[in-house]
Amino acid sequence: MDYVIEMLGITKSFPGILANDNISLQLRRGEIHALLGENGAGKSTLMSILFGLYKPDKGIIKKNGKEIQISNPNDANDYGIGMVHQHFKLVHNFTVLENIIMGVETTRRGFLKLDEARKKVVDLSHKYNLFIDPDALISDITVGMQQRVEIIKMLYRDNEILIFDEPTAMLTPQEIKELMNIMRDLAKEGKSILFITHKLDEIKQVADRCTVLQKGKYIDTLDVADTSKEKFSELMVGRKIEFTVIKDKAKTGNVVLSVKNLTVKSKHSEKPVVKNVSFNVKAGEVVCLAGIDGNGQSELVYAITGLEKVTAGAIELNGKDITKSSIRRKSNSGMSHIPEDRHKHGLILEYSLAKNLVLQSYYKKEFQTYGFLRFKEITKYANKLIEQFDIRSGQGAKTLTRSMSGGNQQKAIVAREIDKDPELLVAVQPTRGLDVGAIEYIHKQLVKQRDKNKAIFLVSLELEEVMNVSDRILVIYEGEIVADLDPKSVTMEDLGLYMSGAKREEKAV
């Protein structure tokens, strides 16, 4: 068999964790090969080894049957291996063209020869149907186009092995469809693609074969066409997974959160980013705010939770005006907040897991006496949450949070915020970057809170999550709520149209 890349018997350990345990992966020429696994299954570690970011403890890498050594990303590039990272590595105040050629500029006597580069870039973009504007600034273009820039970057370097690290996480449904087509075209042209994901639908759509990892161990490599979604998820998690969130009809109660004519100005300019928005969230329902990233969701949430000032309008919690209350006041009157950015807001990475789990409650009686922290109680409480929410880490409660995997960091935040048993839970992308097992768990927790007659305000960019979990969908576009929908009677395509501003409900305020 014609393998372009083979990783054989790869083993890599980090302190306390065996990230890759004797894993083998064989990539055929011209195939799309998915790499599937939960968070912490070792996908990123394996790809980082292939890209030269880590050195394996054991095992060899072969290209076209010959053993090679990859000790840094430049080596990887020389062997034709390119990678689109989950978070793009682009310089925002450079143009598309400048970003593409950066690092491999053709020069004459120290001066850039942009014309040749431009021609090559334009040719590539035509050949693979990767529409881009070479002269646009990165900061001005959409996430989808930024991703195309990253892809052209790899092609410009004549890479033939392309690694995509969770490429669909940031995209709209239309953009995802486009990306799938691009990937198929690339494979047709003879490029070999490694596609890291934990979304089974996408694997079913584009991948030829799929390698499944579980907790650092190799499980199997399967032909996608012969394997069902259910089978894949079972292999990945090690147990059966329910895809659709099972829930009864919502029994709504009183209005818990009421937002009236809320306007929030942008930090950088006088322009409002949230424009005269009004809505209610009742006890016992999950209301989901859907929209494409950057349409005012973050600012709306910041205003509700108190991280940013309200320009105009009012916010009420259980009938009490909390527009101007402090964050601590809001938190104590029954609001929990799973923040969008876990590193910026959610955690203090230099603190231990235990200290982070009491970040919202360290000052309460259970955890302090006369201003002294009760470390015994804190550790006991942390261990309770760690067990209950299955938060995995190297050294338990005293693990430095920075050293934990992203998924487990997220679980820690979710555990902390849900355990407060809040009247209103504001959850912003609570499952971002998590695997199906963890997503299932968090969705169940959200529904459980709902069934305990709590109000949930969910902000999500994932359409599937929006459709699955919510009882009501609000669509936000350019700072305005353009639709108030019932998830049972709306199609994904329609929702996409509302989100992109192509359609709007007149009755919605």
Binding site: G16, P339, H345, L349, K355, F372, L373
Partner: protein
């Protein structure tokens, strides 16, 4: 043995090794300078530095600890602010206004009787706290960078104290502050006798007390939890409902009080130190910065760093015996600080070496390696 292994693998170990490494490299650098300036005397001089304060026997030890006393406190002052994410470069000004208030009470407060030194001491802390509160409030309310404002406060403090000394407690003949009353002097509690007539007094014990207090505040209290949280991640602290502004002001106030206390302990010693009316910022204040760096802002680390700096500074006084200028010690201290600023690099290097050693164990099954780590 297992405990030792655990400690060796902890991040604290590489911290300590990094600081000690910086000291060794700094000393070697000093030796090179000695060799360049006067090769013949270099080695005897170098050993004198290493012997440092201890060449004077018990008295020498006493002198080292006496000299370290204000350094411990200014080191704590800077280190405490560092932990909160603030750079208190104004310890010098806080120290001098504290010192002035201590002298003022010490000269004029006879009526206080045996409480005089205590009042003088507390007054000095209050003065230092007020001095540091100004940059703290400017930072919290107007977002003025504390480095700029506390440098300004250093100069304002120095000139103001010069002026006030001349107006209120001036010894014209010597161009310095007046001698404080005996009841204002720090008690010695026999420490001078134990150390055979050194200047050591209760101040050293007070400094130890403050080391313990700051350690407890930072590591054991809700307040310390909030302060360090603000230092590491102000955004997340805000999200957790911590009042960052209040904490910035409080952290500066405490840092200032510590520096003010340093001033009191300097000028209330029975050895008769005076504020000289000259336009020079108090060096003890600035030494707080390298000491906090060398001690990695940890109160206990600061304690040992201060003693070490005092130790080699006293060693430096003997340099003249070998035809060297005592400033050679300043160069050594400076290079130690330089290298301790590279501590991060050293830390990574140590971590790398430890990892390499661990790799040798890699052929063992992983469970065994895990066991060994415990």
């Amino acid at each position: 043995m297992n405990r030792l292994k655990k400690w060796v693998n902890s991040p604290r170990f590489s911290d300590v090794v990094a600081s000690v490494g910086a000291i060794i490299v700094g000393l070697i650098f000093g030796l090179v300078i000695l060799l360049i300036t006067n090769a013949q005397q270099a080695f005897p001089a170098f050993f004198t530095i290493l012997k440092g304060g201890f060449s004077g026997g018990a008295k020498g030890i006493g002198e080292v600890l006496y000299m370290a006393t204000p350094l411990i406190l200014t080191g704590l002052s800077v280190g405490f602010a560092f932990k909160t994410g603030l750079f208190n470069i104004g310890a010098s000004g806080q120290l001098i206004v504290g010192g002035f208030v201590a002298i003022l009470v010490g000269v004029k407060g006879e009526a206080l009787g045996s409480y005089q030194w205590i009042v003088a001491f507390l007054g000095a802390m209050a003065a230092g706290a007020v001095w540091a509160a100004v940059p703290g409030i400017l930072k919290a309310v107007f977002n003025v960078h504390e480095v700029i404002s506390s440098i300004m406060m250093n100069y304002i403090g120095m000139y103001l104290v010069n002026m006030l000394v001349v107006e209120m407690v001036y010894d014209k003949l010597k161009n310095q502050s007046l001698i404080i009353k005996e009841t204002a002097e720090l008690p010695t509690w026999g420490l001078d006798k134990i150390t055979q007539g050194s200047g050591l007094n209760a101040g050293f014990l007070i400094a130890i007390l403050f080391v313990i207090i700051t350690y407890i505040i930072l590591n054991k209290t809700v307040f310390g939890y909030e302060l360090i949280a603000c230092g590491h991640n102000p955004e997340a602290s805000k999200y957790a409902g911590i009042k960052a502004k209040r904490n910035i002001v409080l952290a500066m106030v405490i840092a200032g009080a510590l520096a003010g206390a340093a001033g009191a302990l300097m000028y209330l010693a029975s050895t008769g130190k005076h504020i000289r009316v000259v336009d020079v910022l108090a060096n003890e204040g600035f030494m707080g910065i390298p000491i906090a760096l060398l001690g990695l802002s940890n109160p206990i680390g600061v304690f040992f760093a201060a003693i070490f700096i005092a130790y080699i500074t006293i060693g430096g006084f003997y340099m003249q015996l070998f035809d060297f200028v005592p400033e050679i010690i300043d160069i050594m201290i400076a290079s130690i600080i330089y290298f301790s600023a590279f501590a991060l690099i050293a830390k990574n290097l140590i971590a790398y070496i430890l990892k390499r050693q661990k790799k040798k164990e890699k052929d063992k099954p992983i469970e065994e390696v895990k066991e060994a780590k415990k």
